[in-house]
Subunit: 108 residues, 3 copies
């Protein structure tokens, strides 16, 4: 048994968790303190059998990995100022993942 | 020294924590993200000496283990619709517990 | 790689985190459940290379360790009752720190 602790972006949390659940991996989602720092992050925690660790890591990676998106400001903004906005590159996603050994595991 | 991480139901958290405290085991309670998933859960975290692990686990089990309760809808509901409600079985409680080895422990 | 989990007071969190960041140590801040217990605490989590553990612990200690402060009640209170308040000793700060071995670490 291993305990996986993953810090992912809020916007990826839904996909990561639902795909883990599809693989019958239950997840606990911890609240990250609203504040000046990393306020857009979620910490998920899941216990998995040793032979499911790779599968869980693959699901986390596929649904949260760092990637580039294109964003534009809200169109009302461009319209108001009478010009057309070029999309800008935004880096989104990314995950930091720790896998820990579990000494004992219990379900009560 | 071990670190115990337990995911329990919100409604059991008070009893679990107060009984751990009576046994002089201090607990940190982490907020679980409100959301579509497991929103009624609380994660507690406590560091205990090796020889107190069994006692802590016993307290967690006794105060959070999965059990059946009987519930009825609010009586205003039955009254309004003019019938008597039979109590329904609800499964409550349950805990998922991880015990981890601690490499270093400090109190500053 | 080690995972450091530290429970510190809310009021020390800003200093601890900004000094860790200056040392290029990234931190995730978990929300502690508002409630009857330890409601003024914050849990921080950070993964550090083995050779940076001592530095991280020193930063946490220096910015959160238990200390005595002097406080007075709000002056409006003294004024209202027509007397002068002596400052009282208050113990603030303090940290509980766990260092855990990490089996695998990934950045996606
Ligand atoms: Ni999907
Ligand atoms: Ni009781
Ligand atoms: Ni400073």
């Amino acid at each position: 048994m291993k305990l996986i602790i993953a810090i992912i972006q809020d916007e990826d949390a839904g996909e990561v968790i639902s795909h883990l659940n599809e693989a019958e991996i239950q997840v606990t989602r911890l609240a990250t303190k609203g504040g000046f720092l990393r306020s857009g992050n979620t910490t998920i925690m899941t216990g998995v059998d040793d032979e499911k660790v790779d599968e869980a890591l693959k699901i986390i990676e596929e649904n949260s990995k760092s990637r580039t998106q294109y964003a534009t400001l809200p169109s009302s903004c461009g319209a108001m100022h009478g010009f057309i906005l070029a999309p800008i590159e935004v880096k989104v996603g990314g995950a930091t993942v720790f896998v820990l050994d579990v000494d004992q595991f219990h379900k009560f």
